[in-house]
Subunit: 202 residues, 2 copies
């Protein structure tokens, strides 16, 4: 039988243990990073929202930076799926990549995380540094194997730029009609534009 | 003979007049909006940096929002050039558009303005609203005449997304190798990707 979890991450009939406390801290961190940004969120704020002692957060996660990385883990699901998205029929990479974008932004919890991260990236140097590291290590390295040369790293940067730009335009600036486009419309229009990134340079 | 202007906007041998005071206020506003963002910049801060009475700013510009729009005027140069960039030989639209991007970001003063605006857009709703209005009215309306249909507005959004994403990746996140690419490399790689936006959907 599958265990049902409550929002707080506690399984019914089970006393809160180490695992649950960590999950509650991560959930509190996600909420605060997403709404207040990286700079304005302190371990003390997170401790207050999670109703735990700040020392416990330091014990479990070490630094705020490490907790930030941990709280962004749901975003790693995208890069984890990237190899499968890229390695299929090369004529439809754009379509599959657009589908992955829609999947990553379709879940409200994950969308809140990405939005919060984008806001932090734009206004805070430390968050930008963490995100850049993540992008260079987890995304670019995978994408660069599939784009045309000679400078595959630069090409991969441009793929990421297109996706990041669509995120900004649709979810942060809310430019119309992109902001209100259905996921079907988005995939139909974005896919060929993404596909172009994987075709030989003219 | 051309008049030479000093940094403060004053012409030599001329007493500061209404025009110069306005220019000094705008320069102060540009500096503060770019470094502190829209929310955290007040008319009082601007008045202090410009060394004028806050009431004078209200008299000249009305609201902070109007002063913000005024201080972003150098960014209108891009949209003003857009019709010429788009209407030439359609095979080279991507190249000319990449060139316009390089021109707009090559001037340090303008780059500071765009960076400040992007930071404000990402973290502050009011700045995002102003920028969206600007984008929809001044940029999208021009671009949408040149992209393939049926939803030309959505296509135009994607062109803007690509450029905004490149700006974010190169100047805000500083992802490599895009951040260190020369303008020649940038144009060579970005142009074909932009060009794809103006070619028929497959």
């Amino acid at each position: 039988m599958r265990r049902v979890k409550s929002i707080s991450g506690k399984s019914p009939g089970r006393r809160p243990g180490r695992h649950n406390t960590k999950a509650i801290i991560v959930a509190a961190a996600q909420t605060l990073f997403a709404t207040s940004g990286y700079d304005r969120t302190s371990l003390r704020h997170i401790a207050k929202l999670a109703d735990v002692d700040p020392a416990l957060i330091a014990h479990y996660f070490g630094t705020k930076q490490k907790l930030f990385v941990e709280s962004m883990l749901p975003l790693y699901e995208g890069p984890k799926l990237l190899p499968d998205v890229l390695k299929g029929d090369s004529q439809f990479i754009g379509e599959r990549l657009a589908g992955l974008f829609v999947m990553m932004t379709g879940d409200p919890q994950r969308l809140k995380l990405v939005t919060g991260m984008m806001r932090s990236i734009s206004s805070e140097q430390q968050a930008a540094d963490i995100a850049r590291e993540f992008m260079q290590q987890s995304i670019m390295r995978i994408v660069e194997a599939y784009v045309p040369g000679p400078n595959k790293k630069l090409q991969a940067n441009l793929v990421a730029s297109q996706l990041m730009g669509v995120f900004m335009t649709r979810y942060i600036m809310k430019v119309e009609p992109l902001a209100s486009a259905t996921t079907e419309e988005l995939v139909a229009y974005l896919a060929p534009r993404l596909q172009a990134h994987f075709e030989p340079l003219k």
